[in-house]
């Protein structure tokens, strides 16, 4: 019954978003039912649809969890976008520096590395780099808020741009193969590649980039749940978010919790880099994020800032991303950008929760758990 109530509101918001999106589709001259059929049908086919849907969902699980952890501490992390860039770059950096990379530059070999570590060392190190760098980047606005009281929303937005600038600078001047017209790093060492699920799931072709980091994402969901609800640290973070003055009364340093929550949040966002660098492109590619950080806000809100909800919401948005490509290909007038529109409407509806309370409250559907 409680589960039903928790699910009811997000479902209503999604349905409402699809209705509004449908009107929009009608206005630009296509049949919404056909478009939605394309969208969902193509995302659920086996193996390509499901494989790509889960692949698209992977970064969204990480960013959704990132936003959710910060939110539980009463913080709005708009900076997952920057944190994931920094995480991905650090991941690639370790995988290049310690991965024994040599590239062919104008016919001559050029070394990029200090060492060539075996996979058993390189894989965990590169993963740690992604998490650590993301955590550090997240901790900065946490620290600024705890120490100076400056608002984390503004600082995370600003740091997004700084992250993009810094990673772009280092890529362009230090880790790009000279002469490469694309702003991307040299390939990382092969020892840093992690397995695609296709290599051991029967029926799933290896060309689908769904990789081990999807399993990491599921583990991250479980760990976040345990961290928030089953450890004293999680208790302190949630207490700070629920009522900071009461938390202080309980001997909790709310300042520490703010920094901690932002660091954990940033670390989770940084894990997007594992999927991107170690499981997909095998290099740092500038501007790779398809607004994962911002979509993470939608994922977290729709998922009620709970790991299970985040997982489900990420799957939904993963489906939309995947299906969007087919809408592009098979609809005359609707492009895959419809997906962005749907996501935005979902966020608006979830944020303006009161909109539904009025009309559904009567049926006891939307009642907050006030008992």
């Amino acid at each position: 019954m409680r589960l039903l109530r928790e699910l009811a509101f997000p479902l209503v918001a999604v349905v409402a978003a699809f209705v509004v999106g449908g009107v929009f589709v009608l206005l630009v001259g296509d049949n919404p039912l056909r478009v939605y059929g394309l969208l969902l049908g193509s995302a659920l086919s086996w193996p390509d649809g499901i494989g790509y849907t889960l692949f698209q969902a992977t970064p969204l699980i990480f960013t959704g969890l990132a936003v959710a952890v910060a939110f539980r501490c009463g913080l709005l992390n708009i900076g997952a976008e920057g944190q994931l860039y920094v995480g991905a770059f650090a991941c690639a950096w370790v995988a290049i520096k310690l991965g024994g990379v040599t590239a062919d530059v104008f016919g001559k070999p050029m070394g990029f590395s200090w060492a060539s570590l075996p996979a058993v060392l390189l894989v965990p190190l590169a993963m740690l780099a992604a998490v650590g760098a993301g955590a550090l980047w997240g901790a900065i606005p946490g620290f600024l808020k705890a120490r100076f009281g400056s608002h984390e929303v503004i600082n995370t937005i600003m740091l997004n741009f700084v992250a993009v600038g810094l990673t772009s600078y280092f890529t362009q001047y230090y880790y790009k193969i000279p002469g490469d017209p694309i702003l991307q790093s040299v390939s990382v060492g092969e020892a840093a590649h992690i397995a695609r699920l296709g290599s051991f799931v029967p029926g799933l072709p290896e060309r689908i980039p769904l990789n081990v980091s999807f399993l990491l994402a599921i583990i991250a969901c479980a760990l976040v749940y345990v961290f928030l609800w089953r450890t004293k640290w999680g208790y302190e973070i949630r207490a700070t978010g629920a009522n900071p003055t009461a938390a202080e009364y309980g001997g909790i340093s709310t300042r520490k919790q703010i920094v901690l929550a932002m660091a954990v949040s940033g670390g989770l966002a940084g894990m997007v880099g594992i999927n991107e660098v170690m499981g997909y492109r095998y290099r740092y590619y500038e501007g790779f994020s398809d607004n994962y950080g911002f979509t993470g806000i939608a994922v977290a809100l729709l998922g009620r800032n709970h790991p299970v909800g985040v997982f489900l919401a990420a799957l939904l948005f993963g489906m939309l991303q995947r299906g969007g490509i087919f809408v592009d290909a098979f609809s005359e007038s609707v492009t895959k950008d419809l997906v962005q529109v749907l996501q935005a409407i979902v966020i608006l509806f979830v944020a303006a929760e009161a909109l539904f309370r009025g009309s559904f409250g009567r049926f006891g559907l939307m009642k907050r758990s006030k008992v």
Binding site: R230, K232, Y235, E236, A239, A246, Y249, G251
Partner: protein
């Protein structure tokens, strides 16, 4: 002038006003008295359009009027000065006064004319303020004058004043009453909300007494006296009795020397306070609210940043002045905070989670001394203990704290704090908003704690409560301790005089 008929107003489950009827005659000063939470402010906020009543009607000048917003009230000549001033601190006096009723055209605000008009008004009512001054830089008394001018500028014929004297010194109160009399002479009608009987008798022509959201009587001031009014306000003339044996004070547990606490804004802070609390005694602190009690208790609980605290706080001989809240708890200080929603509870957390707040990092909340994982079983057992020993209802540890009544929330907090087996118990307003049954229960528990050898420091705005519970009574005024009395022998008049700054300071009394 103003009449409320059968006004009823609910906030959630609380019936704030129950068929309230008040009749204010033109050209009079009308007092509305009652204890905290009696519904006085709610009724007047409804008259000013700040709240809308669920039912009932409002008459102005004998006609039924619809007052949905303050704008409506202002148009009908009703003005209100709120207990917490409604002033924009970053704007000037003139800007604040004319806000919403600006002189000049839509394209040009005529602040010169505003300043002229304000000066004329100040002259007329002897309310001197500088129109160009920043409101944030004014004293509280001056800000109050700005509020009055704001209402007068809108040509209010009826002024509603909510607890206007709470922020004033006795001298200022006298001056303020002069102003009110002057207004009455000029034909204005004044409604003054207060809980101080002396003021009612000093200033008003008529009195309406409220209790528990209802009007219990409206009388002419000349035909009543303090005792009658008090009986009406409280609804019982027997004093609260607490059965307790004489205290057997032991060693000094808390020793406070020259403690000063500065505050950021508003409030009074604590100034140079020294006292001791011994094991096995309850020391009460009596005073009008906002005279530094909150800051005193929070400083003792380790909740005030140490750069704002001066002096020393010793606990069983150890200096804990710079220790934080957690360290204080570990050395045996429990704290029942004055505002249970703000400080005491995590309303969205369940009872089990609330029962370990402050104790959540050590057994039984976690399995081992330095454990990280919460011990769900241990937490549940702790919660069940608290619920059983303190009769918290409903007895379901999985309910959110929000679902409990005020009394049960308070019992949960007290139970949690008692689990610490404290050496020192800081108690602030333990029975505020709590039903009679729970009050007695809580009082018994506090005395029980004392008899078990705990040192108890009790702050309460209810004079009856402190005098009934305390073994020694300190009186605080403007952040200073101004006297100590024996609650068994001292009369309420004596204590009341000290509370309002009418007595000598403690040092003078001793020296």
């Amino acid at each position: 002038m103003l009449e409320l008929r059968e006004i009823t107003k609910r906030f959630g489950d609380v019936l704030a006003n129950d068929r309230v009827s008040v009749r204010v005659e033109p050209g009079t000063i009308h007092a509305i008295v009652g204890e905290n939470g009696a519904g006085k402010s709610t009724a007047m906020r409804i008259a000013y359009g700040f709240y809308t009543a669920d039912s009932g009607e409002i008459l102005v000048d004998g006609q039924v009027r619809s007052i949905q917003t303050p704008h409506d009230a202002i148009r009908l000549g009703v003005g209100m000065v709120h207990q917490h001033f409604m002033l924009v601190e970053t704007m000037t006096v003139a800007e604040n006064i004319v806000l919403g009723a600006e002189p000049g055209t839509a394209a040009a605000l005529d602040l010169e004319r505003a300043a002229r008009e304000i000066r004329a008004l100040s002259e007329e009512f002897k309310l001197s303020v500088e129109p160009r001054a920043m409101v944030g830089e004014l004293s509280v008394g001056q800000q109050q004058r700005v509020e009055l001018l704001k209402a007068l500028y809108r040509q209010a014929r009826l002024l509603i004043l909510d607890e206007p004297t709470a922020v004033l010194t006795p001298q200022e109160v006298e001056e303020f009453f002069q102003i009110l009399r002057r207004m009455r002479e000029q034909g204005k009608t004044v409604v003054i909300i207060t809980h101080k009987l002396s003021e009612v008798l000093a200033i008003s022509d008529d009195v309406t007494v409220m209790r528990d959201g209802r009007v219990v009587g409206q009388v002419k001031t000349a035909e009543t006296n303090a005792a009658d009014l008090a009986r009406m306000m409280v609804g019982r003339d027997v004093l609260l009795r607490v059965e307790k044996p004489d205290a057997k004070p032991g060693d000094v547990v808390l020793s406070v020397r020259n403690l000063s606490v500065t505050v950021e804004a508003g409030g009074r802070g604590v100034r140079d306070v020294s006292f001791e609390v011994r094991a096995g005694e309850i020391v009460g602190v009596a005073g009008v609210e906002g005279n530094g009690q909150t800051e005193l208790i929070e400083a003792l609980a380790g909740l005030v940043p140490h750069e704002r605290v001066r002096g020393t706080i010793e606990l069983e001989g150890r200096d804990v002045t710079r220790a934080g809240a957690r360290a204080r708890r570990e050395s045996g200080v429990a704290h029942i905070p004055e505002d249970r929603h703000r400080r005491g509870l995590l309303l969205d957390f369940d009872l089990a989670e609330n029962s370990i707040l402050g104790d959540h990092y050590r057994p039984p909340a976690v399995a081992a001394r330095y454990g990280v994982l919460l011990d769900t079983e241990g937490i549940r057992r702790r919660a069940e203990e608290v619920i059983r020993d303190f009769d918290v209802r409903p007895a379901n540890p999985l309910l959110p704290a929000r679902a409990l009544s005020g009394g049960n929330q308070q019992k949960l907090i007290i139970g949690r704090e008692f689990e610490l087996n404290p050496r020192l118990l800081l108690v602030s307003q333990p029975t505020r908003g709590v039903d009679i049954g729970a009050i007695e229960f809580i009082h018994r528990k506090l005395v029980g704690m004392r008899d078990a050898g705990c040192a108890v420091l009790l702050v309460s705005a209810e004079l009856e409560e402190v005098t009934a519970l305390a073994d020694r009574l300190l009186i605080i005024h403007h952040g200073r301790l101004v006297g100590e009395v024996d609650p068994k022998t001292a009369t309420h008049e004596e204590i009341g005089l000290l509370m309002t700054g009418g007595g000598k300071t403690k040092d003078e009394a001793e020296g």
